[in-house]
Point group: C2
């Protein structure tokens, strides 16, 4: 799966994709200042000779070149190297030359926690700050696409809020109800939704039963949709740093998956992110997943 690696001008930014290539997950195409990349490879004792290297002057040009390669069908994954996420996404989202779709971009954490029976997706804890209902619809559909790519045919999606009942003073509970009805009406496809669910009801069937919640999702969630970035980010970081979650991350909603690993990620997490992106790219190639937004 050819992956355009944007400006891999740091050890982390170069080591990650090369390791992923050595494990057969991706075929990196390095896009950045040639001299700089070669000197890093030398310092890290990496053999980058098997991989194409497109020479550009600076990070912005690297982003533009990599995105152009995606548009031309030459790359099916976009990987961030050592440039700021905003700089990359700005090029991705350009209305004329970018690779946006009708869907909003959103980020999915894939998490495996020792204390929970199954791996799950947490979204969106990284891109959308205070998503409105239509953005949440796209966030759901992006996560469902990833779950499908990973082999879950009908994932269970829990829409999290602070409470499990409808309360007009807590807008997330109203959005949750609307998202469930969108799924009933085919405006969101391919998953079983329920919400609002508080975190305990979503994660633990017994907690849900105690509260008298009859839900096909409670305690069996494959996807957790958080109400906003603040809640999601804290939840994700708690899971990674205190509940010892293994984590991967990928951005969906563009024409190809985007890998946005950060310097804090472990090698294991970087490889997992590449693997997920590759699965999603494969699904897209096979036409299993479209780019279109839901109904309306």
């Amino acid at each position: 799966m050819p992956a355009a690696v944007v400006h891999p001008c740091s050890s982390d930014g170069l080591v990650g994709p090369i390791q992923a290539a050595e494990r057969g997950l991706i075929k990196p195409i390095l896009v950045g200042p040639q001299a700089k990349i070669r000197s890093i490879a030398e310092a890290e004792e990496l053999d980058i000779s098997p991989y194409p290297l497109i020479d550009v002057e600076h990070s912005h040009q690297a982003a533009e070149q990599a995105v152009a390669m995606v548009r031309a069908g030459e790359a099916e994954i976009l990987m961030k190297g050592s440039l700021h996420t905003d700089e990359l996404l700005h090029v991705v989202l350009n209305r004329n030359t970018g690779i946006r779709t009708e869907r909003r971009l959103s980020h999915c954490f894939l998490l495996a926690v020792p204390t929970y029976a199954r791996p799950f997706i947490l979204t969106d804890a990284a891109i959308n700050i205070a998503p409105d209902l239509i953005t949440k619809r796209d966030i759901c559909q992006n996560a469902i696409d990833i779950a499908h790519a990973m082999g879950s045919e009908e994932p269970k999606l829990a829409i999290l809020a602070a409470v499990e009942s409808i309360n007009p003073a807590i807008p997330a509970t109203l959005d949750a109800a609307a998202l469930c009805k969108m799924a009933d009406r085919g405006q969101i496809k391919g998953a079983i939704l329920d919400g609002p669910l508080a975190f305990d009801n979503a994660a633990d069937q017994e907690a849900a039963r105690t509260k008298g919640i009859v839900s096909p999702v409670a305690g069996k969630a494959d996807i957790l949709l958080v109400p906003d970035l603040e809640a999601g980010n804290m939840l994700a970081k708690q899971l990674i740093f205190m509940a010892h979650a293994e984590a991967a991350g990928v951005v969906a909603g563009a024409q190809v998956p985007i890998v946005l690993t950060s310097r804090a990620d472990s090698v294991r997490n970087r490889l997992a992110s590449c693997a997920v992106a590759a699965l999603l790219a494969k699904s897209k190639r096979e036409g299993v997943i479209g780019h279109k937004a839901g109904g309306q």
Copy 2:
């Protein structure tokens, strides 16, 4: 079933309850200026001697006296005679001396249309102008109570909107989704809810099927919840004046049912309204229906 008849100082206002009494539907207690009521009875050749007559000076005093009788348990139905609806409801809703409950008051039309397979309730086409979500919850629960009183154990409630999909620009579609989730969570009890449904989907199973709507309510609705007074009032009047509906009406949500017939109603419709009010009063007496609002 003792019914306090408030200020029956017109032919219509007096004839209705006496006819209902003669058919064994209610036991009227006439509350109003004695001399005026007697002279109307004489002119209409009505024998009012079997019925208690509480002499008061004017319509406002009649309302206060009738409501006080309800509070004292002496009347289980309140019937409007010849005073303005607002004047009566103002006394009903008085926080200290009225007969309000935790629920909002709402009006239900009971309609039987030759072109629809079953009688149904249309609400609220008369009291709540632009109900918010919590008011809509009460409107639903009031209508469900009436459906229960009439023998429908688990009525199907269609939440009407202009479209059947969720559209944030059409607030009624969001309220519909929230009401459905409230039913899932036990915040509304005793009915199967679905919505948003457009009128055609709600009334006609084939129309719903054509649109791909899978709904336990479509084409089988026992209760239609309208988004606001404008839509509801026009729909009700169209049904009565052009689709030849037989109609009854009752106000629920107070400590006892309130009959608000208007001068335009036929004798048949007045009697039907008394019958419905008597059924609802009987349910309340038997404790089948409480006064409490839903969860939260």
